[in-house]
Symmetry: C2
Subunit: 124 residues, 2 copies
DNA sequence: ATAGATGCAAAGGGTTTGCACTTGA
DNA sequence: TCAAGTGCAAACCCTTTGCATCTAT
């Protein structure tokens, strides 16, 4: 069972507050505001521990380093802003995926990523 | 304008023959059968050149190094076999994506990756 | 007290770059 | 001929690991 350290606390707070998937460098940058000397190795180690515990889930985005978000969210997908590079969660799912699957293939899961411009960047 | 070298020829042949997206290491491995001393740097440089020329397109898969496929294919998506790790093209698109996009966001593109077991692996 | 956690620095794995040599045009 | 292309090795970037030190329990 993990100890309750300042570093771990800070990392969890960052992810709790973000409300969207973050990359390890994102997490390091923000968490260092609360724990100045925080090392990157600690971030990577803590992320892995939190994933193993089931507190975080890995979000794998095309062409991106993995991001992490809190677990327990309903089935959803992601939208990546091409301007600010932030990743947002989007509800729902297009469904109908079985019909795309070739005959003889067994469909077990899927990932959908939308690309475009977020509302913040679009209004500039 | 690029020269017609054995290396470049071999790399294009490999991609032409594959019929599915390949990673740089995949390409290196197969192309070395035709050009034994082929260096990895040449593969990476040639891939980039072919992408810039528009002969290849980059296929970015979640949690994977980028793969490359011939350009000019109709809109399609990909299926990744969890057993053999190969990536296949699948026709069609679920559509209906605009309805998933949050208000104020501008949708410009999308990537869909299906996961499961391909017919070859499923029949074992 | 003491095992787990941390920070630093070095090691890894995949991709890119520098440079002298080779080769297509 | 001679610049583009190549192969090698070193450099890079991001992530992981080794290890001495620190710290929550």
């Amino acid at each position: 069972m993990p100890r309750d350290t300042r570093q771990r606390q800070a990392i969890r707070d960052v992810l709790d507050d973000a409300g969207r998937p973050l990359s390890p460098p994102d997490i390091l940058k923000v968490a260092r505001k609360r724990v100045p000397g925080l090392g990157q190795a600690t971030v990577y180690r803590t992320i892995r521990a939190l994933v193993d515990e089931g507190w975080l889930v890995t979000v794998e985005l095309p062409g991106q380093a993995p991001h992490y978000e809190r677990s327990g969210l309903a089935h959803h997908h992601h939208f990546r802003c091409r301007q600010c590079e932030r990743v947002f969660e989007v509800g729902g799912c297009p469904g109908n995926l079985k019909s795309l699957t070739p005959p003889g293939f067994r469909l077990e899961g899927h990932e959908l990523t939308l690309y475009g411009v977020c509302s913040t960047c679009a209004s500039d």
